[in-house]
Symmetry: C2
Subunit: 211 residues, 2 copies
DNA sequence: ACAATTAATGACCAACCGGTCATTAATTTA
DNA sequence: TAAATTAATGACCGGTTGGTCATTAATTGT
């Protein structure tokens, strides 16, 4: 039916998974989980749909692999940073934010939080996975930092669990906005500037002594 | 084919649109725009799919009608509150937040921001509509308040456009969280408590004089 | 009572997509 | 070189859904 062997059908067992994961990240982030067709993922990775199923059991496994390969290592890195840190707790918050920006915020992985928010209700399996693997660890990390800051009097006393949410919210919204309605807005804001203002408000808002 | 007139086929031209809009809001919020089947909307409103198309041209028109009927009136209300307000600007922010909570935050409409974020990329038509009708007006309202607070020295000087985003972020994330991954979290936080903490941080973070 | 009007129905269509599997062919082994 | 192995393919299946339209029947007017 098609011209014989016009397709350069090469066997590259080692490279396929990585290329499929990269294509999957791109398309999942651009279109969401449900709306991403596996045939498109395969095509963008330069293989056929059948080949994708050779390397990943199904759509869900493919998605989980994207998270595992891309997000979890950065989390481990930030946990390491917190463990090694000496100095003011606010400086630790800045370090964590900075590394997060370099490894997630400015990369394609920045689209994952919006995707999870968007699909959580329709794919509870995925939501559970993401909550346990990513969110709970993030919260634990930030919670420990806040406790540290309050314990030595750098921060004023606050409900830790609630404060975690309030503090992370603008950071998450930055990503969510840029991956959803930002295209409708007349002008794009500078993310560095946005994060700077958030940290400014936070420095003054958290402080115990009114500097 | 089916038992004759077992169905209580009643003609209720006046009531149908409202009932269809209520059902649509419920399902759109629960499942998202793309994943909501119009047959389910019709069924929940007690009519057949054909009847839905008698009152709304298509899925998009149905969704826009939900926004128009439910969200825009509240926006007008808040614009009115701001116009009439006298007293400190921070008190105005509290008034606006309070009315927003009563009319949107604690109702089913609270699910709309998550829906828009989730579907914006795949339905640019809808995103444009929402940005122009809702978001730009919200931003204008908050921007005017911030300008007022800075002009009379109550707030310290900040980049208005960026501050709008940073300040709204935790409020939006409250809704987004509750309509997405909250079901995975072990314990539910009290939204009033969350908003209170946000306003506390903000009062101290925005203030010029260090009270 | 009977015809005219129109609200309401639901079978149907075309398009779409996750996942399967028999077939093809690149590569390795002997 | 020939046989064995396995990477890669793509036609196909079952299930789904937005939207259409010919038909049915509730209501209204005379």
């Amino acid at each position: 039916m098609n011209p014989p062997s016009l397709s350069p059908r090469k066997r590259r067992k080692e490279a396929r998974p990585g290329e499929l994961l990269a294509a999957a990240l791109d398309l999942f982030v651009a279109r969401g989980y449900a709306a991403t067709r596996l045939e498109d993922v395969a095509q963008q990775a330069g293989v056929s749909k059948g080949t994708l199923y050779l390397y990943f059991e199904n759509k869900e496994a493919l998605f989980k692999a994207v998270i595992r390969e891309g997000i979890l290592p950065v989390l481990a890195e930030n946990e390491e940073i917190a463990a090694r840190h000496e100095g003011s707790t606010f400086a630790l918050l800045e370090k964590l934010l900075n590394n997060w920006w370099l490894r997630i915020g400015r990369t394609a992985y920045a689209g994952i939080p919006k995707l999870m928010v968007a699909e959580a209700n329709n794919f509870p399996e995925l939501a559970q996975f993401y909550y346990e693997q990513v969110i709970s660890r993030c919260r634990a990390l930030l919670g420990a930092a806040l406790r540290r800051g309050m314990a030595d009097g750098e921060f004023r006393p606050l409900d830790i669990e609630v404060a975690i949410d309030v503090i992370i919210a603008p950071i998450l919204m930055l990503l969510i906005w840029r991956h959803s309605l930002a295209s409708c807005a007349p002008r794009e804001h500078d993310p560095q500037h946005y994060l700077q203002l958030h940290m400014d408000l936070l420095r003054q808002g958290l402080s115990r002594s009114q500097v």
